[in-house]
């Protein structure tokens, strides 16, 4: 057994047993972050905070929610909304948080794409981040089932039907997923389990992995500059904070993170109190009814772009396109053949690729919610979906042509 001296303070006592001083250095005061960054670098912490809010509000909702097709709707809309003290607040926080978390995820993703933060040793950061995107998507979908409103039911119907594989007609698989011929009690209880246990566990694991992947390649910076972190850290520790290219995570980087989070929370709670409807579709305030299909079925806004990639094609082609669109972003580090780690503005053709991709995804998002019966919208949707794939095919070519900076 190790030898222990008498400790003179709680800190010292803990340090002897847990090495908290070392831990603090490794995780905070000597975890070096480049100085040349902007507020977009705070999105990771904003996401972590939003996940925390979703977790806490979710725990409160879980205490009163009833996963039963006969009780679910009223447990959410009556018990939580009028009988539980501040139940409405937790629900609106949870609903708005679920929507905003995707806004920040998309900002975080496109920041990574713009600055090339997925290249040269940072591939795993990107891959684990995409893993988180998929896990959050599954979490959002399973959570959307729980109030058991019209949109829960019909979205569940549409999405589980995708697993029939078009012309493969694998209805056995669909029934296996639902546990019934249609979304019913078995469906609700298993999605409840996924939403409150299995997927959150996966998310927490992936967050740890995502942080871990950052450690060795370090965070990218605004110019994609390769920094000698050891040298810069020595400079910083020697007191030359102005000359050094790095800052410690805590308290310097953290102070900026907290400020950005403050701005974000103002928006967040403005939406929670005054503008929550955007995150809570009116259709879902009608109880699930298997005999009444809503006039328009559409997913929440953050899935619209991939929904629109599914829609304009024939059944089988649409499914293939949809499946490819779901995973294509994973391939980014391998499809980008350029040796440069630099902001898109300095990367020739990639600059146009970036803005074209961003605008195309936004146009797809718009079209995904509009009625496909309108020929104009349907055609815009088709062209945007084709452009989406054209851009991915063009990516390796234009990046291969890129000159080394």
């Amino acid at each position: 057994m190790a030898h222990f001296e008498k400790a003179n303070s709680i800190g010292e006592w803990l340090d002897q047993r847990l090495a908290v001083e070392t831990l603090k250095k490794v995780m905070q005061t000597e975890y070096w972050i480049p100085k040349n960054i902007n507020f977009l670098w705070a999105m990771g912490m904003v996401l972590a905070a939003t996940f925390g809010i979703l977790l806490v509000s979710g725990i409160f909702l879980l205490m009163y929610y009833k996963p039963d097709t006969n009780l679910a709707f009223d447990s959410v809309n009556y018990t939580i909304m009028s009988e539980v003290g501040y139940g409405w607040l937790w629900r609106h926080i949870h609903g708005v948080g679920a929507s905003l978390v995707f806004l920040i995820i998309y900002i975080h993703m496109f920041t990574g794409i713009y600055y090339g933060s997925y290249k040269k040793g940072r591939e795993l950061i990107w891959l684990s981040g995409m893993g988180l995107f998929v896990a959050f998507s599954a979490e959002a979908f399973s959570g959307y089932m729980l109030p058991w409103g019209q949109m829960s039911y019909w979205a569940g119907m549409v999405i589980t039907n995708l697993f029939s594989g078009g012309s493969l007609e694998a209805y056995g698989l669909v029934e296996w997923i639902r546990g019934d011929y249609v979304p019913a009690d078995a469906f609700l209880t298993r999605f409840f389990m996924l939403h409150v246990l299995l997927i959150p566990l996966a998310i927490i694991g992936l967050i740890v992995l995502h942080f871990g992947t950052l450690r060795i390649p370090h965070v990218n910076n605004q110019d994609g500059e390769e920094i000698d972190f050891a040298e810069a850290a020595e400079l910083y520790k020697a007191g030359k904070v102005k000359e050094s290219k790095v800052i410690p995570f805590s308290p310097v980087f953290l102070s900026k993170d907290v400020f950005v989070m403050g701005v974000y929370f103002i928006l967040f709670f403005y939406l929670v109190f005054y503008h929550f409807e955007f995150a809570m579709d009116p259709v879902n305030f009608d109880p699930a009814d298997g005999l009444k299909t809503p006039a328009h079925i559409y997913p929440e806004w953050y899935f619209l772009w991939s929904y629109e990639i599914l829609r304009p094609f024939s059944k089988d082609l649409g499914l293939v396109a949809f499946a490819v669109a779901q995973v294509i972003f994973f391939m980014l580090p391998f499809l980008d053949r350029s040796p440069n780690v630099a902001p898109a503005s300095k990367r020739g053709l990639f600059k146009y690729w970036f803005w074209a991709m961003l605008i195309d995804v936004i146009v797809l998002t718009f079209m995904g919610k509009l009625p496909p019966t309108d020929a104009l919208f349907a055609n815009i949707g088709l062209v945007s979906a084709l452009l989406f794939f054209a851009l991915w095919i063009a990516l390796p070519i234009i990046t291969k042509l890129e000159k080394k900076l």
């Binding site: 400020f259 403050g262 403005y270 919610k369």
Partner: protein
């Protein structure tokens, strides 16, 4: 400032995204229905018939609403109207007794919540007034159809309506307005009311079940008459937009063509009462939200200001 420029770009893209998936998408998904300020002159009905190219119906409707306008100009005698109103009381007893498919509504506050023109039209021809004439080959098959025979004189109609507007117009609570105008077809389970009114609490489960059976029987009658059980309105306030609810109550055919729901003829004040009740039940956190919102925002404004100062002090000498 480069950072502000980047923030501006992010903000613009976010706002454009919001505009596309919310206001723009909704404007494309729902056809726009013009509100007509709770005035009942048949203009919307005639337009509908014209759009459907039913020329005979157009003629009949034009004549009918012209008649209504004529009666509206006659000065009614309140005292004489009282005698005529006794005829109404034969059915509108305020008791939950189904007659021909529905329970006749209580008229205790009819003068306070319904429109005068509408009431005239209703007595002249209930199916036409409620814009569900497409459901009946002949108005006399309407549950209230017999009124056409019982009260055919224009002066008498003017008298009865004058009586209702004068004597049945006392203070009305939001709940009374709702239950008189909507409650005989629509339950509201979050307020514990059904088509039979407030659900009493019973000591014995046997009595609870007996009441439940009565409710089911009543609902079956309404269902048989309307084609389907009209939806529970507990949280309709969150399931439909303000504008939709308003124009739908004014004229159900405008939002749901062919629906069997009758137009109930609420005046603007009457609708406001009903709307207030639906908000109370369907969105009960509204007052608490309005109370707490500014405090939470103030907290985060202070938090952000302090965080900014902290950031400034921490980054001092770094650039």
């Amino acid at each position: 400032m480069k950072e502000l420029k980047i923030f501006g770009i992010v903000a613009i893209f976010t706002l454009v995204l919001y505009w596309g998936v919310e206001p723009f998408a909704h404007s494309q998904m729902h056809k726009h229905v013009e509100s007509h300020g709770f005035a009942y002159d048949g203009a919307a009905d005639i337009e509908e018939a014209e759009a459907a190219k039913k020329e005979d119906t157009v003629k009949v409707k034009k004549a009918f609403w012209a008649d209504v306008a004529k009666v509206a100009k006659i000065k009614g005698d309140v005292a004489a109207g009282e005698a005529g109103f006794a005829t109404c009381m034969g059915c509108h007893t305020g008791m939950p007794i189904n007659m021909g498919g529905v329970i006749p509504p209580a008229l205790d506050h009819a003068g306070a919540i319904y429109d005068k023109n509408y009431l005239i039209a209703l007595i002249k021809d209930p199916a036409m007034a409620s814009n569900v004439d497409h459901k009946y080959a002949d108005t006399s098959t309407h549950p209230m159809g017999s009124i056409k025979m019982m009260m055919a004189d224009d002066q008498q109609i003017a008298d009865v309506v004058a009586y209702i507007m004068a004597k049945k117009a006392g203070e009305v609570t939001t709940k009374e307005a709702f239950s008189e105008a909507c409650g005989r077809c629509h339950a509201m389970r979050y307020a514990k009311t059904t088509q039979l009114g407030d659900t009493p609490t019973f000591k014995h489960e046997k009595d609870t079940l007996a009441h439940k059976i009565k409710v089911i029987d009543e609902q079956n009658l309404v269902k048989a008459y309307m084609g389907k059980l009209p939806p529970d309105l507990s949280i309709i306030i969150r399931a439909r937009s303000e504008h939709f609810l308003e124009t739908f109550v004014e004229n159900p055919q405008s939002g749901l063509p062919g629906t069997s729901m009758p137009r109930v003829g609420l005046s603007h004040e009457g609708y406001e009462k009903v709307h207030a009740y639906m908000t109370e039940i369907g969105d009960p956190s509204k007052p608490a939200r309005e109370e707490l919102g500014p405090k939470v925002l103030l907290f985060f404004l202070a938090f952000t200001a302090l965080a900014f100062l902290w950031k400034k002090s921490r980054w001092k000498g770094h650039h």
